[in-house]
């Protein structure tokens, strides 16, 4: 049942087999020769795969059974906030009134979407302590770049040609990559003993060439940057802006707000904090929220509430509809083909409605409680390089285990897969050797955490006496340990490359 290999669609294919069927259109059956000039015609048609509906369904069903997801079990993948996302949001995501809306339809015909965005903006500004939001960025990294372009536009509007952006050494890889795309130079700020930004070092790096600093708070070690107020004023003093990478917002919902900490620009990963399941790597949504002074620079057009008719009055002929589109005065321009990953926004809005002010705070409390509980529970089992009160995640190190037994973080991770859990994030953040970064999220129960801790304990103890199981793991998964080096060495990116290689 689901253990043996699954052939590719191309192996299942047989010429002439089919699953498709179309509508009877009643149109004249002009031929392709009549409709497509010869020089543009593809002859023969592109060869895809030809399978029956039955085989198609069995194929993708079996593929799904070779895939672990949050619905399968716990997914303590640090920095990724792999919480359980309510099924109610899935239903919202399929409402025909949302999914069938054409993005190019005029505002008068899409008042529901505009209202949703305007309301979601209000919620997110309240949650972040910012003034305005753009929904165009399609994921966190896109939000980062958008934020940096806003930063650049703001400085430019003041005739200020700053060149450098500061990033802590514990930052996520998208931060430096985005900084470069924003046309800035990356300057790395070291962490101190506590695992937080080394404020002394920071001060040394600050000057009038610094456009801003990108921070994650809590940072990727799961630690709250306690000196944030000091950092903010130091950066602001030299005329820089503070960028908040909101990937870790889950930890502070309803507790503390980036705006109150002094941040100017915030990107939110709705797919982490606000109930969009990850889809195997997207879609997400990375809205950018900014303070009032930066609002004119936001991407556009933006959905706005017009003063005038009340919501729900949409579409009555002759009336100006209550919601519309507006281009911010100094907008950096578009950053998306349309309006962003709208369906993800709908999920997020439903999630916020369901949780409310009380529920959101409970999310943060439970996320932080769970991570701290695990830190206590795992003491003495793995090294905990920063063993102090953490927020929503915590980082273990397998460095000792590697030294003693040759079992590294990656091996522990693979071994954990056999125990029915997804693995933690490994080898990140870079400031910890053999890091195992665990984010339990708020939706895992005490029992699940205990089971996870037991599994990790079992693995650690086993490795001390026998490195074999961890190094040969996993064995109970659909495939065993995968040869990554070979994949890169002998690149087979398509079925056709395989056939010809």
């Amino acid at each position: 049942m689901g253990r043996s290999a699954e052939p590719t669609l191309f192996e299942l294919s047989r010429p002439g087999r089919r699953a498709w069927s179309l509508r009877r259109s009643g149109l004249a059956e002009w031929t392709v020769e009549e409709l497509v000039p010869q020089e543009h015609r593809r002859v023969p048609p592109v060869d895809l795969a030809e399978v029956s509906e039955r085989d198609l369904v069995a194929h993708f069903t079996r593929l799904s059974q070779r895939q672990y997801g949050v619905d399968t079990g716990a997914y303590p993948l640090g920095s990724c906030t792999m919480k359980y996302n309510p099924k109610l949001c899935d239903e919202v995501a399929t409402l025909p009134g949302l999914t069938a809306a054409h993005p190019g339809a005029p505002g008068a015909l899409t008042q529901g979407w505009l209202e949703l965005m305007v309301e979601l903006e209000a919620s997110l500004t309240e949650i972040t302590g910012m003034a305005a939001v753009s929904f165009q960025p399609a994921a966190g990294a896109a939000g980062e770049l958008t934020g940096l372009l806003i930063m650049r536009a703001w400085h430019a509007s003041r005739g200020d040609g700053r060149q450098r952006v500061l990033i802590p050494d514990s930052a996520h890889g998208t931060n430096p990559a985005s900084v470069v795309l924003g046309g800035y130079q990356v300057v790395t700020v070291p962490s101190d003993q506590r695992g937080c930004v080394d404020t002394a070092a920071l001060r040394r790096l600050l000057d009038e060439d610094v456009a801003g600093i990108m921070l994650t708070n809590p940072n990727t070690l799961g630690l709250f940057e306690e000196d944030i107020v000091e950092i903010a004023s130091a950066v602001h003093e030299v005329g820089g802006l503070l960028y908040y990478d909101g990937a870790n917002l889950n930890a502070i919902l309803g507790v503390v707000r980036p705006g109150d900490m002094g941040f100017d620009i915030v990107q939110l990963n709705l797919h982490k904090t606000f109930a969009t399941p990850h889809g195997g790597g997207g879609p997400g949504a990375g809205p950018v929220a900014v303070t009032g002074r930066l609002a004119p620079f936001l991407p556009g057009p933006r959905p706005v509430r017009r003063s005038g008719p009340p919501a729900g009055a949409a579409g009555r002929p002759g009336q100006t509809p209550p919601f519309g589109w507006e281009m911010p005065e100094q907008s950096i321009g578009r950053v998306h083909s349309w309006h962003g990953n709208a369906i993800v926004l709908a999920r997020a809005y439903a999630y916020i409605l369901a949780n409310g002010c009380d529920g959101l705070r409970r999310v943060a409390e439970a996320a932080v409680l769970n991570a701290n509980w695990l830190r206590h529970r795992l003491r003495g089992i793995f090294e905990i390089p920063y063993d102090r009160p953490n927020m929503h995640e915590m980082v273990l190190s397998a460095a000792g285990l590697r030294q003693r037994r040759g079992v590294g973080a990656g091996d522990v991770a693979k071994r954990l897969l056999e125990e029915g859990f997804h693995a933690p994030t490994v080898h990140f953040p870079l400031v910890v050797r053999d890091a195992l970064m665990i984010e339990p999220t708020e939706t895992e129960s005490l029992q699940t955490l205990e089971a996870l801790a037991c599994a990790l304990q079992r693995i650690a103890e086993e490795a001390e006496t026998d490195a074999g199981p961890a190094r040969m793991a996993p064995r109970t998964t659909p495939v065993g340990r995968v040869d990554e080096a070979r994949a890169a060495r002998r690149l087979i990116p398509t079925w056709d490359a395989r056939a010809s290689s």
Partner: protein, 446 residues
């Protein structure tokens, strides 16, 4: 605690006990007191599921999705069969993270491998990545790749490229420092300059079909690129590929595209699906994830994310792109949808669109005052000039039950200064609907 938090009061007490704390507030002691919110967020209290569904249904009901759709412009209401919805909705696909742990992610990895193969075949290029955000971001990445490859930041972009994509290219150029030069259309087709004044371009970007629905002569684009020693990036339409030559066949170095038509609903513009394919020369500059075939420890066929050294989490500021989360679920969806269509199905869909387009163009252009905007051959979408403003017409036809199309911005219509409308016809439109549309259109323009 709340609705989605499992903990009972007893659980919380027990857990706090282990931490030596007496309240959840103390969990946040590390947060400077002054920063902590004294009162809760100013948001309403949480709602039960039925009330949330009701609120969202009410919002959804305020979009006019009952209209018969003739709008396209890069977003098409193609048929999505029940299988696509059912399979793409399998919760293992939906709730997985990026496949970092290949051994428990063979499902997503193999589906992406199949997706890459299908996109590669559609594009006529040997490598395709595992998705980007949308068509515009794919175009940006294509330009970035080409500029990096040629070392020349001047970019010639055809005005036939979707205006939103051009806008995104312009936004990104502020950061990248690229120098964008727009190349105008003549009679609906890009008039590539014979020679370059000023800086020699490193990359040319063309769209096929272009925004007005016309079939560009990509041979001319290729020749212009060759004259400049530039790479050619072609924005292609994967559905139209059912009958059109592939970018690779025309000589494109990079093909980018919007994959929404492959099984993803209109969704008010997102999540969509950025397609990206290129020649093997550029694989080490490929943006985003790439899945490769390999073997496991027992020699069994397996799949894994590969050439990871290109990516931001490993290469950081030297990465080929900053993309991390992309649009995997839409890529899996596209693999399913293309599996459902198959060779003949995709060709039939493209043909059905072309038939409807031809018929609809004939119907509309038989109306007094409505003319083809440009003479070039169109496939699945066409532009007409109007005797009334496009937005007024769209508003009037909405009252008759039609989403008539997308009004063309003056810049698209060209020197004439006329009003224009872009009309798309998918395989879902029947003759009956087109006839009714024509009749309503006739009334609305007069």
């Amino acid at each position: 605690m709340g609705h989605f938090v499992p903990h009972t009061e007893a659980d919380i007490e027990a857990m706090l006990g282990l931490l030596g704390l007496s309240s959840t507030d103390e969990l946040f002691a590390v947060v400077p007191e002054a920063l902590r919110l004294a009162v809760g967020l100013d948001l309403p209290a949480g709602l039960g599921e039925p009330d949330v569904i009701e609120a969202m249904t009410a919002l959804a009901g305020r979009n006019r999705t009952d209209l018969v759709c003739f709008a396209g412009g890069g977003a098409y209401d193609h048929e999505i069969p029940a299988v696509t919805r059912a399979l793409a909705g399998r919760s293992e696909f939906v709730t997985a993270y990026t496949p970092y742990q290949a051994e428990v992610a063979q499902g997503v990895l193999q589906a992406l491998f199949e997706f890459q193969t299908l996109v590669s075949r559609l594009a006529g290029l040997p490598v395709a990545n595992a998705s980007l955000y949308d068509g515009a971001s794919a175009a940006v990445e294509g330009v970035n790749l080409a500029v990096a490859a040629t070392g020349r930041p001047t970019v010639w972009v055809s005005r036939g490229v979707h205006p939103h994509w051009r806008a995104v290219l312009a936004t990104m150029a502020a950061g990248s420092g690229h120098h964008l030069v727009e190349v105008a259309l003549a009679d609906g087709l890009t008039a590539w300059p014979e020679a370059h004044e000023g800086e020699r371009p490193g990359v040319l970007v063309a769209a096929y079909p272009n925004y007005l629905g016309c079939l560009e002569d990509l041979g001319a684009a290729r020749a212009a690129a060759d004259r400049a020693g530039a790479l050619l990036v072609v924005a292609f339409d994967p559905v139209a590929s059912g009958v059109l030559r592939s970018p690779g066949d025309w000589g494109a170095d990079v093909a980018v595209g919007e994959g929404q038509g492959l099984g993803t609903a209109l969704s008010f513009g997102g999540p969509y699906l950025g397609l990206f394919a290129c020649s093997l020369d550029h694989v080490r500059r490929l943006p985003g994830r790439l899945v490769g075939e390999t073997v496991d420890i027992e020699g069994r066929r397996a799949y894994v994310a590969t050439l990871r050294a290109r990516e931001q989490d490993i290469r950081r500021e030297r990465a080929s792109s900053n993309v991390c989360t992309n649009q995997t679920l839409m890529a899996v969806t596209a693999a399913i949808q293309l599996g459902w269509l198959g060779t003949a199905g995709l060709a039939q869909v493209a043909l059905a669109c072309a038939r409807g387009t031809r018929y609809c163009r004939d119907v509309l252009c038989s109306i007094d005052g409505v003319e083809p905007l440009v003479p070039a051959p169109a496939l699945r979408e066409f532009a007409v000039s109007l005797p009334v403003a496009g937005d007024v017409l769209v508003e009037r036809l909405a009252e008759e039950g039609f989403l008539a199309g997308i009004p063309l911005a003056p810049a698209m219509v060209g020197a004439s200064g006329q009003d224009g409308l872009l009309v798309a016809v998918t395989e879902r439109r029947t003759r009956e609907q087109i006839d009714a549309f024509g009749a309503a259109f006739d009334k609305a323009v007069h």
